[in-house]
């Protein structure tokens, strides 16, 4: 092999590269919860899924997080768009309103990550109405994700969203 990439670097270049890596780890590290979020997101029983991508995450109202402004998040998958609006309730929990488009009756599952890795994850399910609407009330803050399942076992696969922090 004469590929120059396979030639060993001299000591100085290697040391410079090591410093470049170390500085990036120091100045631009991955978010501390990234591993946890990914591990929560990929904990699935069935891998035959359609992935919904987060395309928009907008804070409404005053624009300040933590105010009475709500937060609207849009996910898009090949077959459907999922929009959820999150609003803080006075008891310190979260109310979730959601829509599926195109509208359909589907089983919408909200999975919540435990406060610690050892706490079992909780899950709640509702069925969307004919106009594609669904809602969850009194949800705890923390890691959460949606799974949207077809009601009858047709060819359709479930749609999964990435995890997000409520």
């Amino acid at each position: 092999m004469t590929d120059p990439a396979d030639q060993p670097l001299d000591e100085t270049d290697q040391a410079i590269l090591d410093q470049v890596r170390a500085l990036h780890s120091l100045l631009d590290p991955p978010p501390p919860d990234l591993n946890e979020r990914v591990q929560f997101a990929i904990a699935l029983e069935n891998v035959d899924v359609e992935v919904a991508r987060l395309v928009e995450d907008v804070l409404a109202g005053s624009g300040a997080r933590g105010g009475d402004g709500s937060r609207t998040i849009t996910f898009e998958s090949e077959s459907r768009t999922i929009i959820i609006t999150l609003a803080d309730t006075p008891d310190g929990r979260v109310h979730v309103d959601g829509w599926l488009a195109p509208a359909a009756r589907m089983r919408v599952e909200l999975r919540l990550g435990g406060a610690t890795p050892d706490t079992p994850a909780a899950s709640e399910s509702v069925v969307s109405d004919d106009s594609g609407r669904f809602a969850f009330d009194g949800i705890a803050h923390g890691l959460a994700r949606l799974l949207v399942h077809p009601i009858d076992d047709g060819d359709e696969s479930s749609i999964v969203t990435p995890s997000l922090v409520l």
């Binding site: 410093q19 990929i42 992935v51």
Partner: protein, 219 residues
């Protein structure tokens, strides 16, 4: 090939360049072991034990994060891209022909996903009221405080002066060991054969800047 901390003949003072702690450098054998180990995790995941991927996530997330950030995504976008990439992996678990190519597959998927996100934002946000400003590479000023060592500051300052392509390449190259350079080629959309020469040019440029800097060569 562990880095020996011999006096450095290029710089006066002979101090080691490693001021901030660096990860353990794996030799080629260690690298092969790692590839085999990750391939085994993939096999286990394929046979239904998805938890086997947790180890792969911990090991490869830093690389994928750097690939996403090097594509000019802000931190939130990069975190989303990394997550979506793993979800895509689940969907295609059985399509990866060579399990030892898992890392390269993930790097490619991350780059494509990052490209999608960038394109989406360009199309949808250009006329919006609120344009999300992307924070590309961390710039120099606000970070100066985090660096306690003068030589770190000097290196970072000159690193920022390199052309963007060089910064991206060196950032990714620094994350992977030599036998895995096909991943760098994937991340950079460059032929494997031009990684070596480009790396050489970029490092030469950086060395030149450093050597011309009295703060560097005198410390």
């Amino acid at each position: 090939m562990p880095i020996t901390q011999k006096p450095n003949r290029h710089f006066a003072g002979g101090r080691s360049l490693m001021h901030v702690s660096t990860d353990t450098t794996l030799g080629e054998t260690g690298q092969d072991d790692r590839r085999t180990r990750l391939a085994r995790c993939l096999e286990r995941a394929r046979s239904g034990e998805l938890a086997a991927l947790d180890e792969v996530v911990r090991e490869l997330n830093p690389l994928l994060w750097n690939v996403a950030r090097a594509q000019n995504l802000n931190a939130d976008q990069a975190a989303d891209v990394v997550q979506t990439t793993w979800l895509e992996l689940l969907r295609r678990l059985h399509e990866i022909r060579a399990p030892e190519a898992l890392a390269a597959w993930l790097v490619t998927a991350t780059r494509r996903e990052a490209w999608r996100v960038r394109t989406w934002h360009r199309q949808h946000m250009s006329e919006g009221t609120e344009i999300l400003e992307s924070t590309p590479d961390p710039g120099p000023e606000p970070y100066e405080r985090l660096m306690s060592d003068e030589r770190d500051r000097v290196l970072w300052r000159h690193f920022q002066r390199l052309p963007e392509r060089c910064r991206t390449l060196l950032r990714i190259v620094a994350q992977v060991e030599r036998p895995d350079y096909s991943m760098v080629a994937e991340a950079m959309e460059m032929p494997r054969g031009s990684i070596g020469p480009t790396r050489g040019r970029c490092l030469a440029k950086l060395r030149e800047l450093l050597l011309a800097d009295t703060e560097w060569s005198l410390s």
